[in-house]
Each structure stands twice: as structure tokens, then as C-alpha cells.
């Protein structure tokens, strides 16, 4: 092999470089894809981006560190409402990225408190506590002043900065309208988040998480500080959820309590199970399914001659059937099952 090939192979083994390279590839691909699609598809991709960020954090929490959170919608709500409040009067006091960071910070603060409480609980009790959270937090928005009550708060996305519009146009020849802007923001955030999460998963911290979810007694004996590790996982996942919530506020353009029902939390969970617990690619696939499947199925239904109502009802049915199929035939999720096949082929397991 040539020196360059040897060098590249060696570099590829360094996790950070690997992740960064993949991330850059992803960013570039995304730039071109978003530029060439219609605003409608861009809007869908924006949705997929924030769902994937939330799913990524959740899959690390549940799949990696074994803590079942039934209430991640609550953290999305915190991030979303923070963003909505900051963007309420049009232009935010600081740049949009700052708004997103603020949303993450506020959500992490809440997440840390919940995580510390949850670290003392086990299994079903964590699930129960987080479920209570999922119900309580959106209701808070109904009772506190300034959060818009049932109607919620409008969110106006700030104007696309000219430098961004020009840069994108130079690279891809496409204009950036507000809908697409959120898509660009979302996918950039997604790539960055996934690179960081992938780093964590490959690191010592990630190993600790996997150990404690596998067998927490053995992990403790091996020296792992369970409480600390669990809280850390919780905080990381809520940071992702806060970022996702911030993007969601901009994509949906309104934050109202009914948008963060228990439904959202359970749906996110179902997405990561479908895709494959504990894998980022699984989180991505699950989010893609959540975003594109309902609309695709409904369109297919209408073109197959069904009435609008029937076609609309088809979407949850299709999703449910897929879930059942996955649980029965490929319980490790799509990615998990593919991996198992791969390992078996290579004789690892």
C-alpha cells in the first residue's frame, strides 16, 4: 500500500477525525440537497433535523445508558418556549445562534435537576417520573403568564442574513427563503450534534454508559460512579432536546402546550426503537420515517382513490404496522438488526 493509503487508514482509525470528516461530508451534501429541493421538501427536512437531534440525545440516554425517559417532549418544550420568548418581539437581543445556545443552557439547567432526581431511581420509576414531567411541563405553559396559554406564542424566524444568502447562492445557485433557512440551520446543528454525540459514544464516557446499562452492579464494582454517569447522560440528552426544541419552535412557527403532548415523547421513543436503540444512524432513520412516512402514505392513499379522511387515517395505521413488524421480526431495530447480521457474518458474535 502507498504511504498515503497507510497514513489515511491510520488517520481513519482516530475517532475524532473520522467523525469530523463524515460530518463535513454530511454538511456539504446537505448544502447541495437543500439548495436543489422545493421549499416544501426543505420544510420537511427541517422537521426531520430537529426530530433527529432529539432522537439522537434520547437514544444515547435510553439505548446507551439504559435510562428510559418517557418525557423528552417536556425538554423540547423548554427549549422551544425559551426560543419563542426570546424571539417574541421580532429581532432577538443577540444573534440567532445565541438564542439557540440560550435555549440549550436553560434546558440543561432543568435537565440537570431532573437527572439528579432520576439517578436515584431505577427502571420503571424513571419512566414514571419522566412521564409525569411530560404532562406537567406543557401545562405550566398554560398557567404561567407571558407564555401564551393555550394559544401559545408565535415564533417569527429572523430574516436570513445576507452573507448567508449570498454564500449559499454562490455555492449552489439557490436562494434562501425563511423556510429553507430553518432547514439549513437545523441540518448544520444536526451534523454538529451528531459529531459530538458520536465522539462521546466512542469515548471512555460512552463506554461507561454502555457498561452501566448492561449491568450496573458489575459496573459499580469496576469503579464506575453510577450516579454521576447517569446524570451526565441525562444532561447530554436534554441539551440535545433543548436544541431540538429551539429548532422546532422556528420550524413550526408556534409553541403551544398541545404541540408537546405525551404523544411527542412516546413518538420519539418509538422512532429510536424502530431505528435501533443506541445507534445514531438508527435515530436518523427513525426520524426520517416519522417525517416522511405519514405524508407519503397519505399521498399514496389519495392517489389510490381513498377519500381524504381515509387517507389521513392510513398514516398512523402504516406507522403502527411498521412498529409491529420491527418489534416482531427485528427487535433490535432496523440498524440494530443489520448490525447483528453483520457481526454474525464476521464471526464476532
Amino acid at each position: 500500500m502507498s504511504t498515503l493509503a497507510v497514513r489515511s487508514a491510520a488517520l481513519w482509525r482516530v475517532p475524532l477525525l473520522r467523525h469530523v470528516v463524515l460530518g463535513l461530508v454530511g454538511l456539504t451534501v446537505m448544502l447541495f440537497v437543500l439548495g436543489s429541493l422545493s421549499p416544501f421538501r426543505d420544510a420537511q427536512l427541517a422537521t426531520m433535523a430537529y426530530l433527529a437531534i432529539a432522537a439522537g440525545g434520547l437514544t444515547v440516554l435510553t439505548g446507551f445508558s439504559g435510562q428510559l425517559s418517557l418525557g423528552h417532549g417536556a425538554f423540547l418544550a423548554v427549549g422551544a418556549y425559551t426560543t419563542a420568548v426570546l424571539l417574541e418581539d421580532g429581532d432577538p437581543p443577540f444573534p440567532l445562534v445565541g438564542v439557540m445556545v440560550a435555549a440549550v443552557v436553560v434546558t440543561v439547567a432543568v435537565g440537570a435537576v431532573v437527572g439528579i432526581a432520576a439517578a436515584r431511581l431505577h427502571g420503571p420509576y424513571v419512566a414514571g417520573a419522566t412521564l409525569a414531567l411530560a404532562v406537567a411541563v406543557p401545562s405550566l405553559a398554560r398557567y404561567l403568564d407571558g407564555l401564551g396559554q393555550e394559544q401559545g406564542l408565535h415564533v417569527r424566524v429572523p430574516d436570513v442574513p445576507t452573507w448567508f444568502d449570498d454564500t449559499v447562492w454562490m455555492i449552489t445557485g439557490a436562494d434562501v427563503d425563511p423556510t429553507s433557512y430553518v432547514a439549513y440551520l437545523g441540518w448544520t446543528a444536526l451534523v454538529v450534534t451528531y459529531v459530538l454525540l458520536a465522539n462521546l459514544m466512542r469515548s471512555r464516557v460512552g463506554r461507561t454508559w454502555r457498561a452501566l446499562s448492561n449491568d450496573d452492579v458489575a459496573a459499580e464494582i469496576a469503579g464506575v460512579r453510577l450516579g454521576r454517569a447517569r446524570v451526565l447522560a441525562f444532561v447530554v440528552s436534554t441539551a440535545a432536546a433543548g436544541l431540538a426544541g429551539s429548532l422546532m419552535a422556528m420550524a413550526v412557527r408556534v409553541t403551544s402546550p398541545s404541540g408537546f403532548s405525551v404523544d411527542l415523547s412516546v413518538t420519539l421513543l418509538s422512532a429510536i426503537v424502530l431505528g435501533g436503540l443506541g445507534t445514531l444512524s438508527g435515530a436518523l432513520i427513525g426520524s426520517a420515517l416519522l417525517t416522511f412516512l405519514p405524508q407519503a402514505v397519505t399521498s399514496w392513499g389519495t392517489s389510490a382513490g381513498l377519500s381524504d379522511v381515509r387517507a389521513a387515517e392510513l398514516a398512523p395505521v402504516a406507522y403502527g404496522l411498521i412498529m409491529i413488524a420491527v418489534v416482531l421480526l427485528a427487535p433490535a431495530g432496523i440498524v440494530g438488526s443489520l448490525r447483528r447480521v453483520w457481526w454474525r457474518r464476521r464471526g464476532i458474535a
Binding site: 475524532l16 460512552g206 457498561a211 448492561n214 458489575a218
Partner: protein, 266 residues
């Protein structure tokens, strides 16, 4: 009540003094004392129900005694949380092995080496810890090699033979370079050959690591241990070298039952 300091030449590495544990109405342990000197192997034996498991749990911090105290290197040891064991220089194994099934053998051992790791959260987040990782990998592979199972490093524990899995669990305990190793029935499920191997490993380890093992298999205990402590009904009924203990009538009685006058065994 504290007992007088041991008459051994060196300060014991690890000592338990007057440990008593009561569960409800049952006295599980009563005034149990023992010592492990550096570089020695201590065996704890006794019939079923003698309190060996309870004692073991107290020794590694899983259970709090009602009376008595533990001392590490002469200094009293308060309540020890399991995750603090490695920091103190102790390591234990589990009866059920407790291997992480969803991680490779190498990763299993690396978790045990966690204590030596330098990389923290932020290093991990930005992917900067690969040199630290490399060091951990090296250390872990070395331990696996020492036990003769380095070829299994990339495999998942799931499909491996029991003997290999036991070695991996031991490797995980050893990689933190403990001064004291606590083994919970290490010979169970092993073939005679593997048991011999294990004995060899434990003896080799005494250069750096003292061992306390709770065990049923007499052969292993007698051939490997420097000292043996015998428990029965929660009390120490004999303590000494293997030879001394073997000849002690109290020990025989405990295992076989006290002969009754007309020849029946109770």
C-alpha cells in the same frame, strides 16, 4: 470490641475486626475477625449457610455491619461504596461474572481500567482523548495476555466458553492493578485443569496483589492459600495455615456434623 493488634510482623493490608451482622432475628455473622497480609492469599471456607457470602459483602462494602470495623493498611475504613473500591486499591469479582454482554472483551476490561483513565467528559465530547484511549487499550491487552486470552479481545463475551469468560472477568478486576483482590467462588464451573491454571495465576499475582477468596473447592483452597479462615454459623471456628485447619477437629465437625453417641450423624 477492638482486638489487640495482630502479632504478624508486618501491618496487615486488610483487616476485619469483630464484624457482626444481624438480619431480622438471624445472627448472620458474629464477631468475625480476619486479616490479609500483603502478598498473601487468604481463603475463607465453611459449610453452606456459614455466612461466607454475607462476610464477603461486608468486606467489599456491599453490606454495612451492625458491629465491628474494617481497616485498610492499618487505618479504619468507613462505609465503602462499591465504586470506591478501585480507588482504594481493591477489586472484586462477582459470582455471576457480570460481564457486559453488549461490549467486546477488550471493552469489558477497559471499563475496569476506568480508574486509570485521564480523559474526562469534555475530552470525550471533542474526541480528543485518543492517546489516553491507546494507553488504556495497551494496558488491557497486556492483562488479557497475562491470562492467556488476548485472542478473544474483539469478540463479544456471549458465545465464549465459560472458562474464557471467567478469565475476562478476572482480567477486568486485575486491570486496575489492585493491592487486594477479592474473589467470590472463583473455581465454580471450572474444570480441574482450569482450576489449576487459576491457582497458578493467583499465586503469580502475590508479587503485587494479595488475594482473599471465598471458596468451596478444598483442593484449590489448600493448594493456593497461605492462610485459611473457617466459618460456621457466622463464627470463626478455626484459623491458620491450610495444614493446621485441615487437622482441626472443629472444622471436620462443622463439615461432617458432630458424631452422636450412638453413631448417628446429626
Amino acid at each position: 470490641m477492638a482486638q489487640p493488634v495482630s502479632t504478624k510482623a508486618a501491618e496487615p493490608l486488610f483487616a476485619a475486626r469483630g464484624v457482626s451482622v444481624r438480619f431480622g432475628g438471624v445472627q448472620a455473622l458474629s464477631q468475625v475477625s480476619l486479616e490479609v497480609a500483603p502478598h498473601e492469599v487468604l481463603g475463607v471456607i465453611g459449610p453452606n449457610g456459614a455466612g461466607k457470602t454475607t462476610l464477603f459483602n461486608v468486606l467489599c462494602g456491599f453490606a454495612v455491619p451492625d458491629e465491628g470495623e474494617l481497616a485498610w493498611e492499618g487505618r479504619p475504613l468507613g462505609r465503602v461504596r462499591p465504586s470506591q473500591l478501585a480507588g482504594l486499591g481493591m477489586a472484586r469479582t462477582l459470582q455471576g461474572l457480570g460481564l457486559f454482554d453488549r461490549m467486546t472483551v477488550l471493552e469489558n476490561v477497559m471499563v475496569g481500567a476506568d480508574h486509570h483513565a485521564r480523559a474526562g467528559f469534555w475530552t470525550g465530547l471533542f474526541g480528543l482523548g485518543h492517546r489516553d484511549e491507546a494507553r488504556l487499550v495497551e494496558r488491557s491487552r497486556a492483562v488479557l495476555a497475562r491470562l492467556g486470552v488476548e485472542d478473544y479481545a474483539e469478540r463479544m463475551p456471549g458465545g465464549l466458553p465459560y472458562g474464557v469468560r471467567k478469565k475476562v472477568a478476572l482480567a477486568r478486576a486485575l486491570v486496575s492493578e489492585p493491592r487486594l483482590l477479592l474473589l467470590d467462588e472463583p473455581a465454580s464451573g471450572l474444570s480441574p485443569h482450569e482450576m489449576e491454571e487459576l491457582g497458578g495465576v493467583v499465586r503469580d499475582l502475590t508479587a503485587t496483589t494479595a488475594t482473599l477468596l471465598v471458596e468451596h473447592h478444598m483442593d484449590l483452597v489448600m493448594s493456593v492459600c497461605d492462610h485459611v479462615t473457617v466459618l460456621d454459623f457466622g463464627r470463626v471456628i478455626a484459623s491458620g495455615t491450610p495444614a493446621q485447619v485441615q487437622d482441626d477437629p472443629a472444622v471436620t465437625a462443622a463439615y461432617l456434623g458432630t458424631p452422636v453417641a450412638d453413631g448417628e450423624v446429626s
